[in-house]
Amino acid sequence: MTADHDELENSVAAFVLGALEDQEAEEVRRHLETCPTCPTLADGLRRAVGVLPLGVEPTPPPADLRDRILAAAGVAASTPAVGARPAVVPVRRDTTRPWVRWRQASAAAAAIIAFALGAGLGLGIGRTTAPPLASTSVAQFTLSGTGQMEGAHGSVFELRREGVTFVQFSGLPPITSDRVYELWLIPPSGQPVPGAVFAPDLRGGQVVVLGHNLAGYKALAVTEEAAPSGASAPTQQPQLSGALG
């Protein structure tokens, strides 16, 4: 390899970043047309440049920008936003930790929790001597595990009207003390929303309570994150998940 080649090779990164002046950029461009090795280097560096914007500090755009763009395109502004969240669900991550939120659930919800737990989750709400809540409507879903979470299972009970959700886990693999499981709420589009963090009990079970229903979400998922507070966005693919409805 000549000294010229080394110089040109060392310029490829600046070239893909658009940081070379015209003349030097043209030299590198011509070099890439003939060199057997530099195009591969350029491809790899270009991929890295391509993902740079993913690391930008996220700032939400003004709420009316979407409608302005659609209007300028001559498209009806009434096209519903995919991922727009209903009013009951917080748009931004609540700074109150999820397990504190459930303690602040309404007295009615607390009474339902006591009833349901007393009834024994998994046996079916109402199968006790206590009178069932006639107006309670409970939607049930299942979370299934794959891979390392293959034996894990989640039973989701959503009390829609009362605005509370239980997830009863079983078969959770043990985790180390520097890790937690994190439950995510998945909207139709956009980022997963943190729901709760929890650790399995000695038998691999746990019951997680959310102080809201699941309106506006299409799935739940669980990943393993760093203790004590989990992450603001998932750091791995979920191996325990399920669709809602």
Binding site: L20, G50, L52, P61, R66
Partner: protein, 191 residues
């Protein structure tokens, strides 16, 4: 409601399907705005940039070849280039722009019904942030001055008071490390 993959979005845009434009914004509008704001530091100019770029995508979608480029990378690069144009007052296609024509091809088949595409995207964003945070400060600075500031390597050398070859070397090391970190996480395969 089934999610559309980026490939299906491109087809929808080419068919002048209004919901495809809306979904494109829902998917990448926030990130586009954040990039434009990072470059320009002014929310009004950032909004204008995003609007211009989305309209350009809408008006040229029939010419966009999905086999030729990744929609996401193409859109975000367009936003970055347009923002740099505004920042530096350029109107011509100078060498400072990142070459849109060189964006790598879209992956062949992506399932449109993958519910975890958003999870994967969020994980990728976190991985890129982590990778950038791991870079030595001077390497990250060289790349960010070029990418978000539109500075040439000559200008960066003057600003940071190091030789030209050092600036080039820092850019190369930074991008190589970013690439290899993301490759290690399996995130460089099909982008």
């Amino acid at each position: 409601m089934r999610d559309l993959s980026d490939l299906e979005l491109v087809r929808g845009l080419a068919d002048r399907d209004a919901s495809a434009l809306a979904r494109l914004y829902d998917r990448y509008g926030g990130l586009s705005y954040s990039v434009a704001l990072r470059v320009l530091g002014d929310s009004g100019l950032a909004e204008d940039t995003v609007q211009e770029c989305f309209l350009k995508v809408w008006n040229t979608a029939t010419a966009f070849d999905p086999q030729r480029g990744s929609l996401r990378t193409w859109l975000l690069t367009l936003v970055r280039n347009r923002a740099i144009d505004k920042l530096r007052g350029r109107r011509s296609r100078a060498a400072r722009e990142i070459d849109l024509a060189a964006i790598e091809p879209m992956p062949a088949a992506r399932s449109g019904s993958d519910p975890w595409e958003e999870v994967a995207f969020a994980a990728e964003q976190q991985a890129v942030s982590d990778a950038l945070a791991r870079l030595p400060a001077e390497q990250r600075q060289a790349v960010e001055l070029a990418y978000y500031g539109g500075y040439s390597h000559r200008e960066i050398a003057q600003m940071t008071k190091v030789p030209l070859s050092t600036v080039k070397g820092r850019m190369r090391l930074a991008l190589e490390k970013l690439h290899s970190y993301l490759e290690g996480k399996g995130l460089m395969d099909d982008r």
